[in-house]
């Protein structure tokens, strides 16, 4: 079972991780984008951290929705509406929940990723955050079907996300700003796939910490 406090802890940890990786993500974005992804994510999650205390004792659905709305109104760029929608949708899928079983956890991520797909319409191989999420979701589903416990299943999912993130390196971008570079986008890791991997990895580490 994942508790409400663990979700809050995840978001707090994520803010820290994104602050630490601000330059790294920005550097990735300067190679094939406009050098702001780390700055964007950091600005957004700083705002999330400011907002969290006021909703931390409501339910998980509301916490995630608030996170999504905060990201939407503070990040801007492509990642703002994409991650904003991710959290809005995951929150909507978990209305009134105070804790999550394995099914809920999968539901949370799947709904979030569905939100990304609906907004950005990425397909596999476009060299976007979706290239990290899609294999991560599949791995999580397979592991759960396999009877793995939450942590083990998430571990497999994070490994898949990492692989998916790395797989973006040889891809030629077809969505977002990197697509303008055509072949020159090849050879660089997608910043959004990287932040998505960090998101999932931080969730795992938060749950492991208990």
């Amino acid at each position: 079972m994942v508790t409400r406090d663990q979700i809050v802890q995840w978001l707090n940890n994520l803010a820290e991780v994104l602050a630490e990786n601000k330059e790294y993500l920005t550097d990735l974005d300067s190679a094939i984008g406009d050098a702001d992804h780390g700055i964007n994510m950091n600005r957004g999650f700083k705002k999330v951290i400011e907002k969290l205390p006021s909703v931390a004792d409501t339910d998980i659905g509301n916490i995630l929705k608030t996170t999504g709305m905060t990201l939407i109104s503070s990040v801007g760029g492509a990642s703002g509406p994409l991650y904003g929608t991710f959290f809005m949708r995951s929150g909507m899928a978990l209305q009134a929940k105070q804790e999550l079983d394995d099914g809920d956890l999968y539901q949370m991520l799947e709904s979030g990723v569905e939100g990304i797909v609906q907004r950005g319409r990425p397909v596999l191989g476009d060299k976007t955050m979706f290239d990290a999420w899609s294999p991560a979701l599949e791995a999580l589903k397979a592991a759960t079907a396999n009877g793995d416990n939450t942590i083990t299943a998430l571990e497999k999912s994070v490994m898949a996300a990492e692989q998916g993130m790395k797989d973006t390196i040889p891809m030629q971008a077809r969505k977002g700003r990197a697509s303008y570079l055509g072949e020159r986008s090849i050879g660089h890791q997608d910043p959004g796939a990287t932040s998505s991997y960090l998101m999932l990895k931080t969730l795992l580490e938060t749950l492991q910490a208990e």
Partner: protein, 357 residues
């Protein structure tokens, strides 16, 4: 990095404060969420024209707010799309009862954020439309990319649509004009240097002392190709060819249906320029290139257009859609007709563009 700025986090805010104190007769600035709006907004019975995008392209968009052009502009962080709450609050502030037209440069971030804003505004009972500007011929196709970027044509569309809005065009007709003007416009840009985003503190890309980038956007992205430095005439020839020899361009855009309250997809194809067309020629500095060099470019461009049977009937030369301190320029050619010319010539009174009043 040397810039006339204070704390990096305050760059956009302080520039807006400067605009507000400099032009109280023309504009007002709202903070949190940030937007620039006409001092006399809302203008009753007039469609409100709103644009926006990342900061760093000044005078666009904030400098184009005022009589005859934009009703509001939403500045994001430097090179980062603004957020839906800015666009939505701006719409509520300037809506004069005849609806709101969002002019959106085609970048994933801008498109996604403006879509959300349009949905929010519609939900509040405001009639809305959102027209995409996508004119950068450096992006070849829309199938394997996010589609052509919105660049120089944006300035021209904002002027023309702003003029027509002032003449009380209703929302549908105004949207048709905006769509047409966008489809009539084509652009290409080059960079002699990178720009430096304040928050990054260093140039976005490196260019050798004898190189230039061809086919850049307006966000310090590297361009389509890198070449050894050439003369102004040669560079102008390459740029003009990119625009004039460009084939038909097809893309699918999403526009809002105010009846069904849903997005509908439209497939649009614009035709190449052809001999006999009358055009507005826009030679733009990316920020670091002085106007004198733009005239060297214009000189050759006029010669090429003449040779190709394109008649330049109006022009605009200067820094209007910039990329911070980048040295370089862009060329936009927009086909015109009587309707476009009429509203291009219409009076405009904004901090960045002013004539006829």
């Amino acid at each position: 990095m040397k810039k006339l700025i204070n704390a990096i986090d305050d760059v956009v805010k302080e520039q807006l404060e400067g605009m507000a104190v400099a032009h109280p007769d023309l504009i007002k600035v709202h903070f949190e969420p940030n937007f620039v709006y006409r001092a006399d907004a809302p203008v009753s019975g007039k469609v409100a024209v709103i644009s926006g995008g990342g900061s760093g392209h000044e005078p666009m968009h904030g400098g184009f707010v005022g009589m005859g052009m934009l009703d509001a502009a939403c500045p994001g962080e430097v090179f980062t799309s603004p957020t839906p709450d800015q666009m939505y609050e701006a719409a509520k502030m300037v809506d004069g009862g005849a609806g709101v037209l969002y002019l959106v440069k085609n970048y994933t971030g801008d498109v996604l954020n403006f879509e959300t804003a349009a949905e929010l505004a519609f939900a509040e009972g405001v009639k809305v439309q959102s027209i995409l500007i996508d004119d950068d011929t450096a992006v070849k196709d829309s199938l394997y990319t996010a589609g052509r970027r919105g660049v120089g044509t944006t300035v021209l569309v904002e002027k023309i649509v702003g003029g027509a809005a002032e003449a009380k065009y209703p929302l549908d007709k105004l949207s048709d004009l905006a769509r047409k003007a966008n489809m009539y416009g084509r652009s290409i840009g080059i960079a002699l240097t990178s720009c430096t985003v304040p928050a990054a503190g260093k140039p976005t890309f490196d260019l050798g002392p004898n190189e230039f980038e061809f086919g850049i956007g307006i966000h310090g992205e590297p361009g389509r190709e890198r070449f050894d430095m050439k003369t102004a005439d040669e560079i102008t020839e390459m740029m003009a060819a990119a625009i004039i020899d460009d084939g038909p361009y097809t893309r699918t855009v999403r526009e809002w249906d105010n009846d069904s309250g849903e997005w509908v997809e439209k497939k649009l194809t614009d035709d190449p320029l052809k001999s006999g067309d009358e055009v507005i020629a826009f030679v733009n500095s990316m920020g670091g290139t002085p106007v004198s060099e733009l005239y060297a470019i214009y000189r050759k461009l006029a010669e090429i257009c003449k040779g190709k049977g394109l008649k330049i009937v109006r022009n605009l030369i200067g820094p209007y859609i910039t990329s911070l301190d980048m040295a370089g320029c862009s060329i936009t050619l927009m086909k015109t007709d009587a309707e476009i010319l009429k509203f291009w010539d219409a009076p405009v009174k904004t901090p960045g563009l002013r004539w006829g009043v």
